[in-house]
């Protein structure tokens, strides 16, 4: 079947090109390119008066390259040919005698699909719900179908740099002011498009029009400054070559003519496909989209139908869970100690959503639907018919046990999911009337934005309880990993080790701000001490104390953490390592509470980065040894999506595979010995893998 169908209206002589490629979303592969070229040739031969691109798929207009196909038996030569071929097709359409438009009816045009609109199309008609963006950097690549040159002509240079380096996808409304876009209702798309074609015979494509003025014009010096700023941000960590390539390509456009600048994209793009960090990102994309939904295998037939649920504890976490569930059509009862508090929480959700509506991110109808699904209560009697209860009260075992007892007294049949970040299910369910109903659902804050859910299978959790938690989590749109029980489970324990190692480095003589910078250089989104202030020092102090109690030999609490806590340096509005965590202005006064370790060697920069990165990886491997983690896919997915392990490395398992297991084990042992850090003692998992003879190929 042709992936681009050519339909000619004899009377108007307007050709419609219907994109419908193999697979669930439209992608650009060899077949698409061939069929596009054929359709273009026919349009020229038929001397059409215009071309309209539409998609045969409901949700996808055209969403980038078919990466699996391109990477199969890829050689640099073949990749160069493919990218060049795509560019030539777009250039042909842009320079053709006939005008070209596209219509998007609530569909997405991501990456190469958006580039088709930006280069080949003279105008685009889209409904408000349509989405577009150049998201290539999120899969380890950058726009090389002209995107770095064509987007600036559509939205201005500054916005183009921002969109390309962040990979941000926006709805059509966000482009409503762009001269190439008309946002209209679904029923008007085609009539508008046809009328436009009729009125714009002989139009010169903006990319080839010397008189065309870019929107939001700024001076050349200002453009260079924008580039320099982006480069500064992106070069802190040297392992994201795709960001560097994107910036190079954008910068080249400041001096090179259009046609040279797009050719330059190809030169930058081809080596990227073979760069290990780019491959890590591509693989991570597939891990998230293809493997992720198949992880956490449960028997879905056992899952209790959770079309209603209750959230106990209406704090920030509870509000987030309630909002996300309500947004997915689940009716939610929000419960807290008194009515006033729950009402205030609902009002808070209302305000948050209203803000989204006013900024055009959400429709008013969506907000109304969420609010309609939310009810509040202050009485556990209201739990009687509710199949799933998610508990988000303060992280205190006695309190959680009390809540569990109260819930089971009213409704012993409800699945009781605890949104704890550290307390084992075994402890919570101990002595409960029905311990088999207890399961962990560990969400990440802020719940609406964080994609991960860690479901914890306690020793007593019934298969039905686990299946319900996993199924409900998926229904809420989360990527679910299923882990075994234990203090801090997988993510909190591993993240905790990262933060504690940050403190230990400071105690060994590095400045906190130096440590945070080194963390950024290693690829972490936020340094460990910065995290301390933003995540909240109180939470970290309590969790660390708990972990230290459970793993006394490997996770002892640093003295400085205790001192900071006593002195009220706990962030979240109170003092911490930064005067202003957003601007990252150091607060030197914090140093009075730091306890230097006597006689300790000061780690070099490389050693410090390894302590952070390998320290986190090592804890993940300990989780494998302890049976908390059961597979390496969950390890990598959880680490990147949940706790900020550098995405350019795909996750701990891939990182260790690339460095070599034996080399990593030896390095950990050396660091543990040299700096007296028992937490860095290599996990038994390393010995097991070495005994099996495996030194790489984990994931």
């Amino acid at each position: 079947m042709s992936e681009v169908t050519y339909l000619l209206d004899k009377e108007s002589r307007v050709a419609t090109l219907v994109i419908d490629t193999a697979g669930p979303v439209n992608t650009i592969g060899q077949q698409f390119l061939k069929d596009l070229e054929t359709a273009m040739a026919r349009a020229e031969q038929d001397e059409v008066r215009g071309v309209i691109f539409v998609s045969g798929k409901k949700k996808s207009f055209l969403d980038g390259a078919n990466l699996k196909e391109i990477l199969t038996d890829a050689t640099p030569q073949l990749c160069r040919i493919t990218v060049t071929r795509f560019q030539q097709a777009l250039a042909f359409l842009a320079k053709s005698a006939f005008p070209v438009v596209a219509v998007l009816n609530g569909q997405t045009a991501i990456g190469g699909g958006f580039e088709l609109l930006l280069w080949a199309c003279d105008h685009v008609f889209a409904t408000p719900g349509s989405k577009m963006g150049l998201a290539e950097v999120t899969v380890g690549l950058f726009p090389a179908g002209g995107g770095t040159q064509t987007l600036r002509r559509a939205v201005g240079f500054k916005t183009a740099v921002e969109m390309i380096t962040t990979g941000r996808v926006g709805s059509a409304d966000a482009f409503a002011t762009a001269p190439f876009m008309t946002v209209c209702e679904s029923g008007e798309l085609l009539s508008h498009a046809r009328a436009w074609l009729e009125e714009h015979q002989g139009v010169v494509n903006r990319n080839y029009d010397p008189s065309y003025r870019e929107p939001d014009p700024i001076s050349d010096e200002e453009k260079q400054q924008v580039v320099n700023k982006a480069r500064f941000r992106s070069t802190i960590c040297p392992y994201r070559p795709y960001l560097l390539a994107a910036i190079e390509a954008l910068e080249a456009g400041l001096t090179l003519p259009f046609e040279d600048a797009v050719r330059n994209e190809v030169d930058l793009f081809v080596p990227l496909l073979f760069h290990p960090n780019a491959r890590n990102k591509i693989d991570l994309f597939f891990l998230t989209t293809s493997v992720g939904p198949k992880l956490a295998k449960v028997d879905q037939r056992l899952a209790v139908k959770a079309d209603r649920l209750a959230v106990i504890g209406a704090g920030l976490m509870g509000q987030g869970i309630a909002q996300v569930a309500a947004d997915r059509g689940i009716s939610v009862t929000l419960i807290d100690v008194d009515e006033a508090r729950v009402k205030e929480s609902l009002a808070n959700i209302d305000r948050t959503l209203e803000d989204l509506v006013s900024r055009g991110r959400w429709t008013a109808a969506r907000k109304a639907a969420v609010m309609a699904n939310l009810t509040c209560a202050a009485d556990y009697k209201d739990l009687r018919d509710i199949p799933l209860v998610i508990e988000c009260v303060f992280e205190d075992l006695t309190l959680k046990k009390k809540v569990l007892a109260q819930v089971q007294a009213e409704n012993p049949n409800a699945i009781f999911a605890s949104n704890t970040s550290t307390i084992p299910m075994a402890d919570i369910s101990q002595g409960a009337a029905r311990p088999e109903q207890v399961v962990g659902m560990h969400y990440f804050s802020p719940v609406p934005l964080m994609p991960l859910l860690e479901v914890i299978q306690g020793p007593s959790s019934s298969p039905a309880a686990v299946a319900t938690a996993v199924t409900c989590g998926r229904a809420m749109g989360k990527t679910v990993i299923l882990v075994g029980d234990g203090p801090g489970f997988y993510t909190s324990r591993t993240f905790g080790q990262y933060v504690l190692n940050g403190f230990r480095l400071v105690e060994m003589g590095l400045s906190p701000w130096e440590v945070d910078l080194l963390a950024l250089q290693a690829g972490f989104p936020q340094g460990p001490l910065h995290v301390y202030g933003t995540a909240g020092g109180n939470v970290i102090f309590h969790a660390s104390g708990y972990m230290a109690e459970r793993f006394p030999d490997r996770m002892a609490i640093p003295e400085s953490l205790v001192r900071l806590h006593e002195a009220g340096y706990v962030g979240a509005g109170k003092p911490s390592f930064y005067l202003d965590p957003r601007k990252m202005l150091p607060d030197e006064s914090v140093m009075q509470h730091i306890v230097r370790v006597e006689g300790a060697a000061k780690p070099s920069d490389e050693e410090a980065k390894d302590i952070l990165l390998l320290g986190m990886a090592n804890e993940a491997f300990w989780c494998m040894s302890n049976g908390v983690l059961r597979d390496y896919a969950s390890m990598d997915l959880g680490a990147v999506l949940g706790i900020g392990f550098p995405d350019c490395w795909h996750g701990p398992a891939r990182y260790v595979s690339l460095k070599g297991l034996t080399a990593v084990r030896d390095r950990l042992q050396m660091l543990a010995d040299k700096f007296g850090m028992p937490g860095l003692r290599p996990a038994p998992e390393f010995d097991m893998l070495a005994a099996c003879g495996l030194d790489s190929s984990l994931i």
Binding site: A691, C692, I699
Partner: protein, 397 residues
């Protein structure tokens, strides 16, 4: 009388994957190819020296004529000597070798040719219902290789898994061992380590005729994470397609003779067969029978396991080498891990494949050539067979 028996030729075909390169080749021709290669391994044809032939084969139904398959092979090789075909499932070729050793020790033979062969791609589906006619309804065709099982007993995949559970070998480790197996094979192949044992074969498949020169099953580019995601099979607790070998095609052959005859013929002894033993246990004990058999052969030879430089335990499932070495280490973790480091050092059946009647001689020759590369030493090779029998060979090289 002679009491030293040496291997003077050891060759095998590369192993083909299920329905792969060798799937349209007759098992008869595979066996003849391996036999010829072993007979002429030292540059002179030893056909005339052979006193008797011993052939191991599990599923004779894959031959065009399903009995005296060994004799068919002997005749096609042009060796008109008495030929015994034995079936002790996967133990078959090592049982055949042990029979040869008996004859040599008795002084009745001075030279024997031992062959193992299996073409799992060519095993026919069959039905017993057709002979008497089908009055009405469908006819069910039995598949002899899926699952591999015996009436009244568990599938071997289940027994292997239960053994891993019993001896506390976690699935994660079975999977890790399996991924490592592919990597070890790739490293060994890159270093040319299989050149000694492989006899490339001209293969025909469909209209294609090509030289088949390397094992076809290994997947060194895979990952442990991918293996971990595979589904459990046959209701087992830990067995998946990832920690088991495939169903394969191939043949292997060894020429064994008295040391004095080898000297007389001017042949270089590749290795000395010191001792061989067979052992049994309860029918579900298939994962640990290699350990019991190794203990038996070592005891018979008066040797301790510490004297062995290499161990080869056939990977009918990853559980076999892991459970068996754990037993041999008396459950001591450090000792177990040390043993693992000298077990199947160039990979095993999980990568190379397991043509069930050919693997026994394959593990023996892989180990023998590796010992030679290391300047000589002692090794023990063991294999498990259906309904829990084991064969082990102690070899010096």
């Amino acid at each position: 009388m002679d009491n030293e028996f040496v291997i003077v030729g050891a060759k095998r075909t590369p192993f083909g994957k299920y329905l792969g390169s060798l799937s349209e080749m007759e098992p008869l021709d595979l066996a003849v190819h391996a036999g010829r290669a072993a007979l002429s391994a030292q540059g002179k044809d030893l056909s005339g020296e052979i006193d008797q032939i011993f052939v191991g084969n599990c599923i004779p139904g894959s031959f065009e004529g399903a009995s005296v398959t060994g004799r068919q092979i002997g005749l096609k090789l042009g060796v008109d000597r008495f030929t015994i075909t034995v079936d002790t499932a996967c133990c078959s070729p090592l049982t055949a070798l042990r029979l040869a050793l008996w004859g040599l020790r008795l002084g009745e033979l001075s030279t024997a040719l031992v062959i193992g062969v299996e073409s799992m791609s060519r095993v026919p589906h069959s039905s017993r219902e057709l002979r008497s006619g089908v009055r009405i309804g469908e006819v069910k065709l039995k598949d002899w290789i899926f699952p591999i099982t015996y009436p009244g007993y568990n599938s071997v995949a289940v027994d292997a898994s239960d053994g891993a559970v019993k001896y506390d070998v976690p699935k994660n480790m079975l999977d890790a061992w399996s991924m490592a197996c592919h990597r070890k094979w790739a490293n060994a192949r890159e270093a040319g380590k299989f050149d000694d044992e492989l006899a490339p074969i001209m293969a025909t498949k469909g209209r294609e005729r090509f030289l088949f020169a390397a094992d076809e099953s290994p997947r060194p580019e895979g990952t442990l994470a991918a293996i971990q995601q595979l589904p459990l099979i046959f209701g087992s607790k830990t067995t998946t397609a990832g920690n088991a070998p495939g169903l394969n095609d191939g043949a292997s052959a060894v020429v064994i003779m008295t040391a004095s005859k080898a000297r007389a013929l001017g042949l270089e002894p590749l290795g000395t067969v010191v001792e061989a033993s067979g052992e049994t246990d309860m029918p579900y004990g298939i994962s640990w029978i290699p350990a019991l058999t190794i203990k038996k052969v070592l005891e018979k030879a008066g040797l301790s396991l510490d004297r062995c430089d290499l161990i080869e335990i056939n990977e009918a499932f990853a559980a076999m080498p892991l459970v068996s070495t754990k037993i041999l280490a008396d459950g001591d973790r450090d000792r177990w891990f040390e043993l693992l480091k000298k077990t199947n050092v160039n990979g095993g059946a999980i990568a190379m494949g397991h043509p069930v009647g050919a693997s026994g001689l394959r593990i023996l020759m892989t180990m023998m050539y590796e010992l030679r590369r290391r300047g000589g030493g002692t090794g023990v090779a063991a294999i498990c067979g259906g309904l829990t029998q084991g064969e082990a060979v102690l070899l010096k090289a």
